[in-house]
Subunit: 224 residues, 2 copies
DNA sequence: GTGCATCTTTGCATACCATGCAACTTATGT
DNA sequence: ACATAAGTTGCATGGTATGCAAAGATGCAC
């Protein structure tokens, strides 16, 4: 073997490449068929046929039919974790998340046609919307762990916690990182949702940064 | 007919009463069976048998098997909407949500045994967790609408928006209410999650209020 | 390039999920 | 008591999802 294969990136063996292609073909077929006929009327058989594989193979890639409509990028979580841990020490936790997520979401405007279709499909059937939103939060737990790790590192390097600090070893341990991850997730969803409804009027990243500005200000009433 | 029956409340006809009882029996049977044997091993047939109804009847109450594990209170959304609209005018939007949700969540500590079981079941199978989390957000959309309505009312009564106000009729219309609803939902989930992991150490409402304090402060780093 | 180990795909069998329909039973209003 | 509306049930049907074993690709060493 020549090099350690980078797991998440493109390339690698011919096998990995084919797997990625098949998975993408299935997901794309699912979304396109759903956009045309409505998600509930699209069978696994139809998706599989459109992607050129057997029904059984579909279930080798997705745990359920609905997953094909929902999953976009499965290893975004690992990249986010990296970004949080590698961020400059002087950034506040909220800023770290804003930058990490902004980097991750940069592709949204580039592949906006795919994202728009996705949003359309999910919005058309609340069942899938719920599933998609829920899927985002599995990642939030990992993200919270990354934030907690970063904060622990900062504590050790920067200065000691005051006694009874808000996130020491007391009963509130872990509350802040979890809240931060959950709120950041809420920020992403709100931004995407708003942007996909006003796509012509504003750049996505502008919306996204305005949302974090509101968060950092403590969510004050808009006209007070 | 004597009176318009209040739809959400207890009592009413004998029919409504039986329906509520059957639904509760199904949901409770589902959770208990799941806690004992694992959610994935519980069939609709088993749930129906435990509740004393036919399989077909199960599907008259729930759209899918998973719904039985997830749904707790289906008309909480309507109560929240009411609470938001009826809240005192001097409260900030964030405070309004805090109080409305605190009132709704008061029963968490009272029925904590059921909630603990629910949390256990959902946490044991990520699939259901995602579904449960997603379900919360259907409500968030309604909640956002209620917040927007309240803000419009306050605008008309209180004073004119400054030109370019953050939530006038411009491209950002509706962003703030949606963000607020999403963040409040995140706050609830984080609080419940944290509390169910540290149930002995803190009252739920204390955790909940601390979360909102963090939000109002703009989520600053814990030791800075 | 031959051959072996590994991974992937596929068909088949099986069980469960979910819905429409028609027949039957049970509340409700007059 | 009667008619009506509402809820329950069994049956038929089709889609969803998993285990298993055979066949086909791929990667690697020689």
């Amino acid at each position: 073997m020549q090099l350690m294969l980078e797991k998440g990136a493109a390339g690698g063996g011919l096998r990995e490449q084919k797997k990625r292609a098949t998975r993408a073909a299935l997901a794309e077929a699912a979304v396109h068929l759903a956009a045309e006929h409505g998600a509930e009327k699209v069978t696994v058989e139809a998706i599989s046929a459109a992607a050129g594989v057997s029904v059984r193979t579909f279930f080798n890639y997705f745990d359920s039919r609905d997953d094909a409509f929902v999953v976009i990028d499965e290893d975004a979580g690992a990249r986010m974790r990296r970004a949080v841990l590698d961020a400059p020490a002087e950034l506040s936790p909220l800023e770290v998340l804003r930058e990490a997520m902004a980097a991750e979401l940069a592709e949204v405007e580039q592949q906006h046609e795919l994202w728009r279709l996705h949003a359309e499909v999910l919005h058309a059937s609340p069942h899938l919307l719920a599933r998609g939103l829920g899927a985002h939060m599995a990642a939030e737990a990992d993200l919270a762990a990354a934030i907690a790790e970063r904060l622990r590192g900062a504590d050790r390097a920067g200065g000691a916690d005051g006694p009874g600090g808000a996130d020491g070893a007391g009963p509130r341990a872990g509350l802040y990182p979890r809240l931060l991850a959950a709120v950041a997730g809420a920020a992403v969803r709100t931004s995407v949702d708003h942007w996909s409804a006003h796509q012509e009027e504003a750049d996505f990243l502008d919306v996204f940064r305005e949302v974090f500005t509101l968060l950092a200000a403590g969510l004050p009433a808009p006209s007070a």
